[in-house]
Symmetry: C2
Subunit: 248 residues, 2 copies
């Protein structure tokens, strides 16, 4: 089996509806591209006990864990503290992070006060994750990668570490969209899926004022299996007099 | 304490990155408006064991559980089966649902085949949830509300049942945005929060090519506390020579 992953989004602002999360979808696509199987994503509160339990559970269950949010300078940022407690690592002012931040704030003529120094507090023994956007680093401890919540910063951090990740065999997919309701082809879809090993056929109905139909996504690590399934599917669609379009 | 809630989004297509989830944010806002505290949201695979465990855990932990996805006619729709198994309720062809669907398909001159009849299979004893968009109902069993995944259908189902939900005291919030970096006011924010009971002050930095600053969200059930905190906050912002804007 290939590598698996879990995502933990930490932030009350997502659960209150104030902020729309866009990090799950972005990371999901990146992982999919390098053949890592995203198994679960959770959005949790800024609460120490919840963060600790979720991180420990995910760290045991998945090859990689990515967290996003809660590593800024304010009182509601408690991810770093929670993760150090989860794994029993002491917190320390990381010298490299202190240097990076000191230089950054000197250059910007901004006071490097106690709150900002909080962003240099990192569990002892963790490795830092580069932040090309706003300097304050993320960190990696065991199989857990701790990113900022701001999407641009999170994305830059992910790209800083993505070459370390061991991807698996890459799942390929083809999508065929047809003007036939999913209820009509439901039986045949299930039958086709059964004929191949480790194939997943997903069926997604669409509706719009002009028309309705189904998008069918065929996923497998074997491209030749996808093409064989596609042929069978096209025959079914033609049997029902439907039209279709194939996307890679 | 008021009512709490958990959301379970069921669907491989979200975890593969193919589809962006928009249901969490929509439900989060609805719950926030009626004073129900959303505690956690999970995005999980179309896998029976995972669905069963998550639904049972959430059903115990929260006042209300909302699931979305996996109740359509195809082989990859396994939410209904999983939930009936989780609670030990038998599955049956629900007569009301069969009637609704039969009439719907007759009117549309579409064959009401075995796959489509699958959408009338509901755990015995569950109550149906109206689907004004595409007829096939959701259902409610214990404290779990089972919705479709397509956003418009999910939204119509939520509105069909929302009058049943017992909201709590409504948390109010005010947002103040200022042109001061969050690191500068971080210490004071924490100090202000401490002075009030059950107040949450969230701090969200923003950056754009023209400027940077912080949006501060003050949340409490007591509007007068919010206003008092706001006054203190404005003094801090003015102390640092900043400008601000208040949103409700």
């Amino acid at each position: 089996m290939g590598s698996t992953a879990g995502i933990i989004i930490i932030g009350d602002e997502i659960l209150s509806g104030r902020t729309k999360d866009i990090n799950v979808n972005w990371i999901a696509n990146e992982l999919n591209n390098i053949g890592i199987n995203l198994k679960e994503a959770r959005i949790i509160q800024d609460e120490k006990k919840v963060i600790i339990n979720t991180v420990l559970e995910f760290s045991k269950k998945f090859t990689y864990v990515f967290t996003s949010g809660g590593i800024g300078p304010t009182h509601d940022d408690m991810t770093t503290e929670s993760i150090s407690e989860a794994f029993g690592f002491e917190l320390e002012k990381n010298e490299i992070a202190m240097d990076l931040l000191r230089k950054h704030y000197e250059k910007s003529k901004i006071d490097f006060n106690e709150s900002r120094q909080k962003m240099a507090i990192i569990p002892k023994g963790a490795s830092l994750i580069d932040n090309p956007v706003s300097v304050a680093p993320g960190f990696n401890i065991k199989n857990v990668y701790v990113f900022a919540g701001v999407p641009k910063i999170m994305q830059s951090m992910f790209h800083s570490i993505s070459s370390e990740l061991k991807g698996g065999v890459i799942t390929k997919s083809k999508t065929i969209t047809c003007n036939i309701g999913e209820g009509k082809i439901a039986y045949d879809l299930g039958q086709i899926e059964k004929q191949f090993l480790n194939m997943k056929i997903g069926s997604y109905p669409y509706f719009n004022p002009q028309s309705f139909g189904t998008s069918i996504v065929i996923r497998s690590v074997k491209e030749e299996d996808i093409d064989l399934a596609l042929e069978k599917l096209i025959k079914i669609i033609e049997k029902f007099g439907g039209e279709f379009e194939i996307k890679k």
